[in-house]
């Protein structure tokens, strides 16, 4: 257990250091997520009347798109200089590599959200974080489920031809339940519904996360062997 935490920490720190030294990708993805939000305004002509109804969908779509971009990169950077071989050869538990990549991707998405959500609130003059604690919980649970399956599929996509298109094609259908639970919970929190409306969704999100986190960490070693 202690070894697992140590190696997870080591791999995570390595990734963070690489990212913060170049500081490129986070900025680019943030610009992309912001653009998605702005583009939606032109597509839907958002005003004070329709904003509350559309907000949840717009936010989750921009998270899904930006997150998928980040996922695609998380294993690709290892491929560049054959780092993946070093990682695969190191005598550590394969699960810790999964945990580290998962945590890295999760952190990446949370950082994007930490900038995009305030921008959204300013641009559309709609406070989506009215119920701050519950809304943050929904975002976090949604992110965890997204990044669990995302990390797994991203690891697979590294070896594929046309991986840029295949990652979303394989991942998004699997995420349909997550999107439904998360977007409807966010929507009912924005609308200020009764807790009974969103609590059940939050429970289901948590169940989704738990199921796929267990299954993904069990099967990841089979993917790691082939990287």
């Amino acid at each position: 257990m202690k070894g697992l935490i140590r190696t997870t920490h080591a791999v995570l720190m390595k990734d963070m250091r690489t990212e913060f030294r170049s500081r490129e990708f986070l900025g680019h993805t943030f610009m992309f997520a912001l653009l998605v939000i702005v583009i939606f305004n032109f597509a839907f002509k958002i005003d004070a009347q329709n904003a509350p109804g559309l907000a949840s969908g717009i936010l989750w779509i921009s998270f899904l798109f930006a997150g998928t971009l980040g996922l695609g990169r998380s294993f690709l950077i290892e491929k560049d200089n054959d780092c993946i071989q070093g990682l695969a050869l190191s005598p550590v538990d394969r699960t810790s590599i999964f945990f580290a990549k998962f945590l890295g991707n999760l952190l990446f998405l949370v950082m994007i959200q930490a900038i995009v959500i305030p921008m959204f609130i300013i641009l559309y003059n709609l406070n989506v974080m009215e119920n701050f604690f519950m809304q943050s919980l929904v975002f976090l649970l949604g992110d965890i489920g997204f990044m669990t399956l995302g990390t797994l599929i991203a690891a697979m996509s590294v070896n594929m031809k046309a991986r840029e298109i295949l990652l979303p094609v394989l991942l998004l259908p699997l995420l349909v339940p997550l999107l439904i639970f998360a977007a409807s919970a966010t929507a009912s929190l924005i609308a200020g519904d009764d807790p009974s409306a969103y609590l059940s969704r939050i429970k289901m999100l948590a169940a989704f996360d738990l199921i796929f986190f267990v299954v993904s960490s069990l099967v990841f070693e089979y993917i790691m062997d082939e990287l």
Binding site: F181, S216, Y222
Partner: protein, 239 residues
């Protein structure tokens, strides 16, 4: 160990030519009987357009697609457990048949829906679940297509096959929350069939016919896969 030997025997039996032939012949005969029973013999349904008869094909295709996806799931687990590429080939064939029958289920459902509901498509839980299933397992087949290395392909496909199947009930649950139910449920239980006995008989025969067709195509396709794997192996040896 004993169970494994039994499995070996079943796999060897499936390879047998006579088994393939008789299953194919049986499927053809049953399909003819099912066509007669469902299109000619079974009575008109009160208050339903004549397209109601599509139920005799729609329901069996739906069940065959679920069987196909279940085969993917079980064979995927077996492959990851045993590492035998034969299971991978079984999973592949199961996936192909699942996708085929899922597409047929959607097509027959849409033809019926156009007559009954006046629309080809409704964003209704069962329909939407079926569509998501089709997309997930089409992804499974695409995944198999883009990987060249045999072992890598088998492993990734197995992982995806397991994840996809675990997702199915969650997809269904989530979409039930999200949409309005429109899809009729005809057969609620064995005690309460919801249709006259003649129709039930036609449906049962049709079900058997589709099951036999599934088995026949499965065996033929699996045979083809096994043969091409053998060719690849021999070619590798020759080089």
């Amino acid at each position: 160990m004993k169970k494994l030997k039994l499995l070996e025997k079943i796999l060897a039996l499936a390879e047998h030519r006579l088994v393939r032939l008789s299953v194919t012949a049986g499927a053809a005969a049953l399909m003819l009987a099912a066509l007669y029973l469902s299109l000619v013999w079974s009575p008109e349904a009160a208050g339903e357009p004549v397209t109601y008869r599509i139920i005799y094909f729609h329901v069996p295709t739906a069940i065959m697609s679920y069987i196909g996806f279940f085969v993917v799931f079980v064979a995927s687990i077996a492959f990851l457990w045993k590492g035998d590429l034969r299971f991978d080939r079984i999973a592949k064939v199961g996936g192909e048949l699942g996708v085929l029958f899922c597409a047929l289920m959607l097509a027959t459902g849409m033809i019926w829906g156009k007559q009954r509901w006046g629309a080809w498509w409704l964003w209704e839980p069962r329909l939407t679940t079926a569509m998501i299933l089709l997309v997930i397992y089409s992804g499974y087949l695409i995944l198999r297509n883009v990987l060249d290395n045999q072992v890598t392909r088998a492993r990734y496909a197995a992982v995806f096959g397991i994840i996809g199947f675990v997702d199915v009930p969650i997809v269904h649950l989530s979409i039930k929350i999200w949409g309005n139910v429109m899809h009729p449920v005809v057969i609620k239980s064995a005690q309460e069939p919801g249709m006259p006995p003649e129709m039930m008989l036609a449906l049962r025969v049709s079900m058997l016919a589709f099951l036999a067709t599934f088995a026949a195509v499965f065996l033929l396709r699996l045979r083809l896969e096994n043969l091409s794997a053998e060719v690849a192996r021999l070619r590798g040896e020759a080089e």
